[in-house]
Symmetry: C2
Subunit: 195 residues, 2 copies
Amino acid sequence: MSNFEALFDYVQTLSGKMLSADEKQVFRAHFKPKKLRKRQYFLQEGDVCKYTGFIVKGSARTFTVDEKGHEHILKLSVENWWLADFESYYQLTPSRFNIEALEDLELLQITNAQAEEFIKPIPAFSAMQNVISQNNTIAAQKRMQSAISNSAEGRYQELVNDYPHFLQRFPQNMIASYLGLSPETLSRLRKNALK
Amino acid sequence: MSNFEALFDYVQTLSGKMLSADEKQVFRAHFKPKKLRKRQYFLQEGDVCKYTGFIVKGSARTFTVDEKGHEHILKLSVENWWLADFESYYQLTPSRFNIEALEDLELLQITNAQAEEFIKPIPAFSAMQNVISQNNTIAAQKRMQSAISNSAEGRYQELVNDYPHFLQRFPQNMIASYLGLSPETLSRLRKNALK
DNA sequence: CGTGTTTTATGATATATGTCAAGGCACAGC
DNA sequence: GCTGTGCCTTGACATATATCATAAAACACG
């Protein structure tokens, strides 16, 4: 059985509300544990993203492949994040993205329909969603501003400040792709930054 | 008296719920009409963004100024959008952004505290917020993907597809800044695109 | 261990985009 | 109808970043 405690902690911490025993049962009834091994795909381009998965353990990348065959990483996801292409998940349209496990993944997943019907009425959960929505708005704005105003080096420095653990956890070529850079450019950047 | 009908239409359309006469009164009691003339500032860097404003008429830009004195436009906003630096608005921290009217502006504005207490309990309003939150997530993801995967030309083409009216409404140098380009580069891009 | 695979580093070169400078065009206000 | 101001274009040149090729280093796994 997968670990629901991580999810309960997360919902309670973010919302500032406790979950009752009954409410926890609702979570257990509708979230399905799912495991993926490293390199397995959570979502493939062209498929509909039926589930969002709460990451109990592991990590993943969300990426596209362009006409030249180059991959571009839009998102890197770790524990306590929600894994999905939300465009596809909300609208049930085919996704333009691939989502692949970078480390063995343990998820608790649910469909949008089930979440709307059973989970969203739980006050702690909808409060959590509001907090996440605010955080996302702020993070998206910050990343976008960095993308249009900063040089490659500035964007890298911002990543170092905001997500230092990414540097330990993910290979440098993935970080480069996340920043919109070639691996060579990031390698040179780091050499120069050491002075 | 400013025009609340635009706001009511917007809330009702997005939420799919009607507003009662009483609920409309709550809106009238707490949203304050505000006018700004072209070039006036809605927010200055370093100030707290106390209000969010629903744009009844006009347009604005949200931008930063870097160390070299260059401006970078993060957002262009028109009718039926909400104007604010939401990081500062939610957290009441000093903003890193300036928001300036590009055309005469008519707003209906409200503080976060008032919105939370009086407006959010209105079902149509909170439903609208959920829809906006989803739309923002999708739009932010799309723009970010464009920023890391596309060339300057690709980003411009995407703007032409997604927001064609921006091209009529805003000068080309503002569009360039929004795309993270110099005005000269955009000018050349457009010349080549004509073939 | 050893061996194949992945990741990182480095050099040479190509390409995209920025910067600076100048001129022309358009429009607002007198 | 002038005139100033802001916007757009164009050219020459500078700089940042990508690409391609190769080798070294790190890692995974039988």
